[in-house]
Every structure is written in C-alpha cells, then in structure tokens.
C-alpha cells in the first residue's frame, strides 16, 4: 500500500493523521460564532456543502471564504488562493472588492503595525491583490461544469497555492437540463467523488453552495436542499443557512466530528461577521 508521506491518497495510520490534522489551519468565515460550530472554520481536505434560501447569504459567504483563505499566515490565515466556479452569475466583482477592503481593514485594526512591515514575501494589503488571487470560472451549463471540475485536477496541479474551491451553486444546471434522472444520479455521484478526491489530493477545502427547494415529507411541505436523496450523502459536512425570526442562522447538519449546532451570523457592508448586539443599527452598503 502506498505510503502516506509521499502520496497524499495513500494509506496512513490514525495517529499520524491526528498530528497532521492538529497542524491544519481552518479557513475563517468571518464570524466567530459560525467558526465555533464548525470547529474553527472551514476544513481543508473536506467537502462542505452550504445550502440556504435565496437572499440568506450563500454567495456572500462564498465570496468571504474566497477572500479569507488569502489572509497571510502571519495574521493567522492560510495565505492561499481561491478558485471560484460561478454557475449562476452571482459573482459581483464590486462586492468582492468591498469584502476584500473589509478584510484588510480588520487586519489593520487588529495588527496595527502591519503596514509598516515591508517584506517581499508579504502579500500587499491591497484589495487588488486579493482579487488577483481569485481564479474565476463562469459556467453556463452542466457540461461546462463537469469539464471545469475535470480540468481542475490539472489546473490545481499547476497552481499548488490554491487552498479553496468554491462552486456557486453546484446543482443549478443539473436541476434543469438533465432529462434522464437516473443518468443524472450516476453523473453526479461520479462528480462528487472527484470533488472529494481533489480536496484530499490537493489539501484544500471544497465548498459547494446549494439551493433550496420544497419537498413533501412527513405530511407537509418542508424546505430541503436541492437534489435531495441522490446528492445528500455527497459531502463531508453540511451547513444550512436559514432565517430565525429576523436573524440569519447557520445550522451544522452533518459532520464526522462535531455535534449539530446553530449559530447566528450577520452580513454587513464589510462581509460576513458576528452579530453585533441588537441595539446596533445595521450598516447599509452604498
């Protein structure tokens, strides 16, 4: 059997895997409460599905992660790059710029002397540099989506500093363009295995944003993530974003090591953050 050290997909014993895991950094979501229920943030080497109703902030969170993965190591981040696969055209580059600005302003606030440091290996704390490290693919059909995911295996080999792949959203094209549902299940099963492999082989986080639909179960219509039964087992972790009264909440629905839990979060002008106390008026974006 292949050795774990040379081959990322080879066999490893659990003790070695534990020390590897302990030294892994997680990707912060921007909200401490949300990070907490996720065990520190989004995990590399795992596929995390994030689903939610329209407007609750899936794309906002996706963009936030694409920025946060780039936080330099000296500030506790991974210093990596991001791949953003956009299947719905939700990626608004002006918003990405704002979120990058918000991240940089938080860095400068918490590490006040960072702008004085000058090192050639430092990422310059400019929004343009953050935008330059997001590789963007615009996908318009399921065939293109499959092509992109297949091509990623080669692309990631050439861009080893990518530490997150975000697909927004993963099921959109498959919901409408596939006639043969049994074939769709087979194709999606294969696709999800490929995504698992990418996550493990390249030691990065794969984040799949998913839509919500209604399903008639247990005597009533309930909300559920799209492509339900044929797809629901295809992720390592699952987070559902929902409305609880007037607040946004995230519910950890599936995880191999963490219990189910909910946490509130907010979407502000700077991006995804913790909920401030309710007296504070929320800042509107202009």
């Amino acid at each position: 059997m292949g050795s774990g050290e040379n081959n990322p997909l080879g066999a490893q014993n659990a003790w070695d895997m534990l020390s590897d895991e302990q030294s892994q950094k997680h990707i912060t979501t921007g909200s401490g409460d949300l990070n907490n229920i996720l065990g520190g943030g989004i995990h590399c080497k795992e596929v995390t599905e994030i689903g939610g109703v329209p407007g609750v902030g899936k794309t906002q969170l996706g963009i936030q992660l694409a920025i946060n993965v780039q936080i330099p190591m000296q500030y506790g981040g991974l210093g990596g790059k991001a791949v953003y696969v956009d299947t719905e055209g939700s990626f608004m580059v002006e918003r990405v710029y704002q979120i990058a600005e918000g991240c940089i302003s938080d860095i400068l606030e918490h590490f006040p002397h960072s702008h004085e440091k000058s090192s050639s290996s430092n990422k310059q704390l400019q929004p343009e540099h953050f935008l330059a490290d997001i590789y963007y693919f615009r996908i318009c059909s399921y065939a293109e989506q499959i092509a992109a995911i297949n091509y990623l295996e080669k692309f990631l080999g050439e861009h080893k500093d990518v530490r997150i792949v975000i697909i927004d959203s993963v099921t959109f094209h498959f919901r409408q363009d596939f006639d043969d549902l049994a074939l769709r299940t087979r194709v999606l099963s294969e696709l999800s295995l490929k995504l698992m492999k990418i996550a493990k082989a390249y030691n990065l986080a794969v984040v799949l944003l998913n839509q919500v639909t209604t399903k008639f179960t247990e005597g009533s219509f309930q909300l559920t993530l799209a492509l339900g039964d044929s797809w629901s087992h295809s992720c390592t972790n699952r987070v559902i974003l929902y409305w609880n009264g007037n607040e946004r909440y995230a519910y950890l629905d599936k995880s191999p090591s963490l219990p189910v839990a909910s946490a509130p979060y907010a979407v502000t002008g700077k991006g995804v953050r913790d909920v401030v106390s309710s007296n504070h008026k929320r800042v509107r974006v202009t």
Binding site: E88, I139, A143, E144, I146, A147, R186, S189, Q222, I240
Partner: protein, 363 residues
C-alpha cells in the same frame, strides 16, 4: 462551450478518431456519461476513457480569469455597469442602478406599478447618455399588450421636460423602443433563440420582458419539447443573453394569492417552534416550485408590494445591499419615490410579497 465540436479540440489523433467513430461529436456528448459508460461506448480501457475525458474537459472548460481582470474589464467598459433608474434611493441600494449583464426581476401583484416601472426604464434605455440613458434601442417583449407609447412619452415629458421640449425628440425616443407581442410560448421561445442576432443587428442596449408569468397562461401545458419546465429554460437563456451581450435584462413576474398562510421551514426547524416566542407559528413565506427557482436565479429581485396603505419597492435580493424598501407612488411622471431613505427589511419579510396586508406568492 458545451456544444464545442470534438473536431475543433485538437485532440491526439487516436482519441479524435475513437470519439468520431462512436458519434460523440460535442463536448456535451462525451461529458454526459460517467467514465465507465464512456468506456463501454468507446469499447476501450479505463486509461483511454480517462484521457479522452481529460482532453475534452480541458478544451471545453471556459477560460479562467482572475477577479482582478474581471474588475478591470468592468471598469474599462465604463459606466460602472449600471443603468441608473433616477430613483435615487433605489439606485444607491443597487450600487448605481440596474446591473448590466445580469437578470433583474420585478415582481408584484397586478396593478401595482410594474409596467410603469418598465416604461420608465425603457425610456432610460433610449435616452442619450448625457441625460443618463444608454442611447440605444430597447427591446420590449410585451406579452400582455400593456405597452403604451403615449404613456411612455407622457412619463418622459414629465420626468425630463428639458429633453422632451426638443422638437421631434419624443418621437425619436419612442422609435427606439422595439415592441414585440408574442402570442404563444413557442413564439416567445423562437424569438429568444434568435435573440443574440437580433440584439446585435439592432444595437439593443436593454431588454425588457413584461411579463414572464403571462407566458404560462398563453400555453396550455401542451408538450413543448422543453423538458419539464419551459420557463426554466427561458430563464437560463435570458441570463446567458444578458451576460453575453452585457446589457441589463429586466423581467416582470406576477403573483397569485396564497390559500394557506403557512410558510415553509426546514425539517430541523419544525421542533423548535415550541420553545420560541415567535407568534403565529410559521412565518417564513417562501415560494414553491418555479417561484423559488426564480428567486435563486435572478441577481436582483425588486418586489413591488403594498401594505399599511402604501406601495413599496423592496430590494429583496441584491449582492450589493441588505434588504431595504422604499415607499412610492405612481404619478404622471411615472414612479416616484416618496423617500430616498429606505426602510431596512429583515427576516422573512424579505422574501414575502404582501398585497394589502395579505401574503401572496410569486408564480
């Protein structure tokens, strides 16, 4: 790029021949099969099938751009990629106006002012740039025969009096609006298919579809050959048209009233209502079937609703802003905001649509 022919992909000759021999002519043909089925079709081993998939995928995958390059392109194309509606509060909430290259939905009960809004926007598409317009032609797909040039000119004269004082300008502006009235879903679909050519031929700068929902009533569930949901296909096609031609696309949608007030929840929320102090049980008013699909697929969603004796334009979905609502009235000059200071909207109110206090559903 899904329909990219295999012959154009510059594959190694043995793979190209193999695929051609089995009539796998486009990228889509090759990629719609799991690997093992491709093996069977090609009558080849796993390494060959995998090589074919890898080559085809690389060729068919759209080119990658960095987000910075996207931003620079946006800046280069100018205008910040927005069409200002002249409703200041709304424009601010939208980051400048209706985005170009994206789908904007306008939804609300009938009679509330959606068409009035479309008329104003249509006018702005036609106006010269120094008046804040796009200085181009507007394609107005009018499925309910609601378009009225006279009303549009009236709006123009009242909103931009200095412009329309000019002799003949009103007629010139009206002349830039190309109105089509499809009588059936098939008609509409056909015009969509030719849309890209049409847009180029006539130098169209804005596309308005008023309204999408009416098309379902034109067609009585006859087999149209578009799988289960012809409107879904139309929706994604409109999106791709928007992106391809980088013009704003505005689509109106209608509502129908909801029989039961119960909203929808996730299964893990069901048990939690006992401990909560939320009144009246379920209060999340999301829509089913096509409604939710629409909500996911559009980039900007403007909900026109009425409650508490006023009408509101609510920015229910926008990447640039949290939800906010503006009270408005319809005057001779068209839609006018009563206040540019929007009212923040949170929680389930964001997705609900209210018509005189009752909740309604989008179709």
């Amino acid at each position: 790029m899904a329909n990219m022919p295999v012959s154009e992909m510059r594959l190694p000759p043995h793979l190209a021949h193999l695929l051609a021999a089995r009539r796998l002519d486009t990228a889509k043909d090759v990629l719609s099969l799991p690997e093992v089925e491709l093996m069977a079709v090609l009558d080849a081993g796993l390494p060959t099938a995998r090589a074919a998939v890898a080559h085809v995928s690389e060729a068919a995958c759209p080119p990658c751009q960095t987000a910075l390059a996207l931003l620079e392109e946006r800046v280069r194309l100018g205008g910040g990629g927005r069409l200002a509606t002249t409703l200041c509060g709304l424009d601010e909430a939208l980051g400048g106006g209706i985005p170009m290259g994206k789908l904007t939905e306008v939804v609300g009960p009938s009679g509330i002012g959606k068409t009035q809004f479309c008329l104003k926007v249509a006018l702005l598409g036609a106006l010269p740039e120094y008046y804040g317009g796009l200085d181009g032609r507007v394609l107005y797909i009018d499925t309910e025969s609601k378009f009225s040039s006279r009303r549009m000119i009236e709006i123009g004269q009242k909103s931009f009096p200095q412009v329309f004082r000019q002799e003949g300008l009103a007629q010139k502006m009206a002349g830039r609006i190309l109105v089509t009235r499809p009588t059936s879903l098939a008609d509409f679909t056909k015009s969509l298919e030719q849309m890209k050519v049409t847009l180029l031929q006539h130098d169209v700068k804005l596309l308005i579809v008023d309204s999408m929902a009416a098309l379902t009533s034109l067609e009585n569930e006859r087999a149209t050959g578009f799988r289960q949901h012809p409107l879904r296909w139309a929706l994604s096609f409109l999106k791709s048209i928007a992106e391809f031609s980088r013009i704003p696309v505005v689509v109106t949608n209608q509502v129908r009233s909801q029989s039961n007030v119960d909203g929808y929840h996730f299964s893990f929320e069901v048990d939690r209502k006992d401990g909560d102090n939320c009144t009246g049980g379920f209060d999340s008013h999301l829509v089913a079937a096509l409604g939710i699909q629409w909500a996911h697929a559009v980039t900007v969603r403007l909900v026109f609703e009425s409650h508490s004796g006023h009408r509101f334009i609510k920015v229910a979905k926008s990447p640039m802003s949290p939800a906010v609502a503006f009270p408005f009235v319809v005057e001779t000059s068209g839609i006018t905001l009563l206040s540019d200071e929007g009212i923040d909207v949170t929680g389930p109110e964001i997705t609900s649509i209210r018509c005189q206090g009752k909740n309604v559903l989008a179709q």
